[in-house]
């Protein structure tokens, strides 16, 4: 009940801000492009009309008055790229003090000033899944954000109506942070399993207590943590779990089965190729790197064929960045599956469009070019899977947020007058360590 009223409140806040800052959606006519629809083949010399941020027409010889036109003659037009695993645009990643912090939410920490977001747009990425890190067995709630660069209101960056998601983590990271680092459970992989079981059991008990109290009895002590865990049990939140080893992946599916939870996307999932049929049977999704591994012990047994094997076993698979560098060329990452696994063009592009959209529960809105979907489009010079492909325009809800012809040197939207900016960028040690899944955790190695 409280949860619902909170959501209602948030929804009404969004409605209010949209009224004030109405420039969140726009109208655009894209002419004569080669349209890669993802779900309906490739359409040559085709126009796309976006009205009020939505794709309203796809066809030949479209026209509209008083509208921005983009001439896409000789260019490729594809849906905006969706990154199912990222940590850019948020001021905090890990609340690493407790092995279970389901109550925290990175949506509280959205930072529209992060220049990494603009760079992601320059790589054609219109949506990213801003995630909590992997320090805790149950980290925090994540947020699906639309890259509305230039809009300074963090609230407008949240993708309205996107399902809630939460970060779980298996293996070395939570073991090291809590077991080794703080001398508390979990110290082992089996300890991590118990964190999940304990948490779900507590949430069930909490729900029962609340039901018993009703509206007239003594209410149990309120716990935002247990409220959130109960919402997972009720199927209101999609789990995105940091994982590497096959045995642990099976373990978590067993735990979820015991508690009747079925919405899960495994992240990294480097040994996913070993349990691909089991993942498919469970209906679990997989979001992987193309060819990144060996950065710690549990990530040695890996293969660049992972995405292909998972795809061929009917697991909905995506390729993610988990990095403010990789996010700038996810289309290269998708192309690697063709070098290693002979996926078709469309299969490769699905890994960075409709598939991550399915994993985030937003495939009815984005991930393909279809009438009625959001006007999230990227226009490439050269084929997106070619090493020579380069995004020219990135459009979010019908608003051009990146235009390679109007790409100023200083793109910052926020300038701190107390800081004198040097005319060169000096990458500090801190920047390097601050990257990735283990942000905010004092450790000097092992990201993701």
């Amino acid at each position: 009940m409280q949860q619902r009223s909170r959501l209602y409140l948030i929804a009404s806040i969004i409605a209010l801000t949209l009224q004030v800052f109405g420039q969140s959606t726009g109208d655009i006519l894209i002419k004569n492009g080669t349209v890669i629809t993802i779900e309906d083949g490739i359409k040559e010399q085709t126009d796309i009309l976006i009205r009020n941020g939505k794709i309203s027409q796809i066809g030949e010889g479209l026209s509209a008055s008083n509208i921005t036109e983009i001439d896409a003659e000789g260019m490729y037009v594809m849906p905006g790229i969706v990154d199912a695993h990222s940590h850019i645009g948020i001021d905090a990643v890990n609340e690493a003090t407790n092995p279970v912090t389901a109550e925290v939410w990175v949506g509280d920490a959205i930072n529209p000033f992060d220049v990494g977001l603009y760079r992601a747009l320059a790589g054609g990425v219109t949506i990213s899944h801003a995630m909590h890190g992997s320090a805790n067995a149950i980290g925090g709630q994540c947020e699906t954000i639309k890259h509305r660069w230039g809009d300074l209101d963090p609230e407008n960056w949240r993708m309205k109506d996107a399902p809630r998601t939460i970060k779980f983590a298996l293996g070395e990271n939570p073991m090291r942070v809590h077991g080794e680092g703080k001398n508390v459970a979990p110290r082992t992989r089996m300890g991590i399993e118990q964190e999940f079981r304990r948490s779900f059991a507590a949430a069930k008990e909490y729900k029962a207590k609340k039901a018993k109290a009703g509206t007239t009895g003594q209410m149990p002590e309120y716990s935002l943590r247990l409220e959130t865990l109960a919402d997972i049990l009720d199927g209101k939140i999609i789990i995105h779990c940091h994982s590497y080893r096959a045995d642990e992946i099976l373990m978590l599916m067993n735990v979820l089965e015991d508690y009747g939870v079925d919405k899960i996307c495994f992240q990294h999932v480097n040994e996913g190729f070993k349990v691909a049929p089991e993942l498919a049977e469970f209906g679990a999704y997989a979001s992987v790197f193309s060819d990144w591994w060996a950065y710690k012990f549990e990530v040695y047994y890996s293969t660049a064929y992972n995405a292909t094997i998972l795809t061929r076993n009917n697991v909905i698979t995506s390729i993610n960045s988990d990095s403010r560098e990789l996010i700038r060329h996810l289309y290269h990452e998708a192309a690697k599956t063709q070098r290693y696994g002979d996926l078709t063009d469309n299969e490769a592009l699905k890994l960075i469009t409709i598939n991550p959209a399915i994993q985030l529960g937003i495939d009815d809105r984005v991930g393909s070019i279809k009438v009625g979907k959001d006007g999230d489009i990227v226009i490439f010079k050269g084929h997106p899977l070619s090493i020579y492909g380069t995004p020219q325009y990135t459009i979010v809800d019908g608003v051009v947020r990146f235009d390679i012809n109007e790409d100023p040197d200083d793109i910052r939207v926020d300038v701190d007058p107390t800081v004198e900016i040097p005319a060169f960028y000096e990458q500090s040690v801190y920047d390097h360590e601050a990257e990735g899944c283990m942000q905010g955790v004092s450790t000097h190695s092992h990201q993701h």
């Binding site: 905090a92 509280d108 209101d153 007239t216 309120y222 935002l224 943590r225 926020d414 900016i421």
Partner: protein, 552 residues
């Protein structure tokens, strides 16, 4: 809220009257009835000559034809300027960090005791300052008569107290547990350690305070064998906030955190005032549409002067030029926040935070240079602050029936040469001698130009560096550089030698923290000097220097 204000005000009255009477017996004071004759009362920007009668800490009457009542002491303020004394909306004055005698061992960093995590809404600022008994003269000397004081440490440091800034402890009128103070201060290494942890913890605590209230209501209606609901001290202390009997004074510190504080307010529904607002450039309208009362920080960023086009200077690249221009633009936007609010008719106040207001006039003048009106500045420090604190019916203007809190200056406040000559705070008066600077002629026998190596003893260790002195006409240009960064000296132009003394100063900013430095150098001869450097509120420390080279 209204009810609370009334209670607070009644409490104030009662205390004043009671304590005032007690004081008559305690001190050999003839009367606390005062009369101000032929003073310029500054209201609405235009000084008007009038007379004012004060009695027992209150303004009895204001009027041109008013005669001095029998027994009233005439204060020497003829032709001086009278302003309502300043009101600070939130400071940490007199708050000291409690020393942890025993180090608490925290076994589970994810479940620390509330106190260790900075969650102490049950702590009252009145108790904290009662134990340290601060000397309020520092705030008073800068024109303040009232300050709302809050503990400084933690995410929910405690309840606030409104203090009348008098020395006589028996007359310090405090309202206790007036409001709550909040900030995004993370606990170190324990929960909540991040902004996302703090946001979640705040929601959790607040919802629990609501549950507690609900359970207590249920209990009061239930049968005799029901169990009395109980909770932690922290949650118990937040119940008045959930009932809107208290207001949350929130210090967001960082720009985006301002929106995060607003999110909590909107989601949970408590009353909130924002304090210590520094830079909200780009978010002004987003914040203003929420109609949340704002108190701006009195601290300002270090002054950035527009680069003069110097033909002899090194060629500056287009890139550097563009970056400098954007920085300048951001600086101007930051400096015009107050005037922007004024132009939008949004009343705002100022809050001191950890400042004591030594640069108050200087900073107000900088804001006025950026477009704020003088009256706007005075209103922010008086009636707007009183309104925000809910005490406008007893403070914030020179009006019959209000507290006799006056600032009396010898020229209009914003005049370069004006001085505060008297502060009246309740029934107490404080007079100030004017510090006249002796304009001694320069000691002609000294040749101080050249480069000096100095050594400054501070509690943090010895600081060394160089002071280069150049003679320009009759005065000097001084380049002061630390040996850590010899290539980036602070420059003071147009400094004159008075006798054998050279006085100058500048602000040093590091990581957002500003420390004012003022140098007082006495030359023994042309080769050696000594003196002191005062470092903001930390006091003055000895400096000594020897000349290492003279100009050719």
């Amino acid at each position: 809220m209204k009810q609370i204000i009334l209670t607070v005000v009644c409490f104030l009255f009662l205390q004043i009257i009671l304590k005032g009477q007690v004081d008559y017996d305690k001190y050999p004071q003839v009367s606390s009835s005062y009369f101000l004759q032929d003073v310029y009362l500054v209201e609405d920007g235009t000084p008007k000559m009038t007379n004012i009668h004060l009695n027992d800490g209150f303004i009895v009457q204001v009027g041109k034809s008013l005669k001095r009542p029998k027994g009233a002491i005439q204060l020497e303020a003829d032709s001086m300027y009278v302003y309502p004394a300043f009101i600070d909306v939130l400071s940490h004055y007199g708050i000291k960090k409690s020393e942890n005698k025993e180090k608490v061992e925290i076994k589970f960093p994810g479940m620390p005791p509330d106190k260790e995590a900075g969650i102490t809404p049950d702590l009252s600022a009145q108790d904290l300052i009662a134990s340290s008994t601060p000397d309020f003269s520092k705030l008073r000397d800068n024109g303040y008569a009232i300050s709302q004081i809050a503990n400084k440490y933690g995410m929910l440091p405690g309840s606030t107290t409104i203090a009348l800034l008098v020395d006589d402890k028996s007359k310090r009128v405090f309202t206790d547990k007036t409001n709550q103070f909040g900030q995004f201060e993370a606990a170190s290494g324990i929960y909540p350690a991040t902004i996302i942890g703090i946001m979640a913890k705040f929601r959790d605590l607040y919802r629990n305070a609501e549950v507690l209230k609900k359970n207590k209501d249920t209990y009061s209606r239930s049968s005799a064998n029901a169990q009395m609901p109980s909770s932690s001290d922290a949650i118990e202390a937040l119940v008045p906030l959930t009932l809107k009997q208290q207001t949350m004074y929130f210090y967001p510190e960082k720009k985006l955190n301002t929106l995060r504080a607003i999110r909590l307010k909107k989601e949970l529904g408590f009353n909130m005032n924002l304090v210590g607002i520094e830079d909200i450039a780009g978010l002004e309208d987003l914040i203003l549409k929420e109609n949340i009362p704002l108190a701006l920080s009195i601290a300002l960023p270090k002054e950035i002067k527009e680069e003069k086009q110097d033909s002899t200077a090194q060629e500056v690249s287009e890139e550097v030029k563009a970056l400098t221009e954007r920085r300048m633009k951001a600086y101007k936007q930051r400096m015009s926040l107050a005037s922007y609010l004024e132009s939008k008719s949004v009343p705002f106040a100022f809050s001191l935070g950890s400042d004591t207001g030594n640069d108050l006039k200087k900073n107000l003048k900088r804001l006025i240079d950026s477009g704020l009106t003088e009256q706007g500045a005075i209103d922010a420090l008086t009636i707007n602050a009183a309104t925000m604190l809910g005490i406008a019916d007893v403070a914030g203007s020179v009006t019959k029936g209000k507290f006799s809190n006056l600032m009396i200056t010898d020229a209009p406040y914003f005049d370069e040469k004006s001085n505060i000559r008297m502060m009246v705070v309740g029934s107490e008066t404080y007079e100030y001698e004017v510090k006249t600077k002796e304009d001694k002629p320069a000691d002609e026998s000294l040749a101080i130009e050249g480069v000096w190596d100095f050594s400054l003893d501070t509690p943090g260790g010895k600081e060394t560096g160089t002071i280069k002195i150049e003679k320009v006409g009759d005065s000097y240009t001084i380049y002061t550089a630390s040996s850590d960064d010899p290539s980036d000296p602070e420059i003071n132009e147009d400094v004159s030698l008075s006798g054998n003394t050279l006085e100058y100063g500048f602000d040093m900013t590091d990581d957002g923290f500003t420390m004012p430095l003022s140098f007082s150098l006495q030359f023994t001869d042309s080769e050696t000097m000594g003196g002191s450097v005062s470092l903001g509120e930390y006091g003055a420390f000895p400096i000594s220097a020897n000349k290492v080279s003279s100009p050719e």
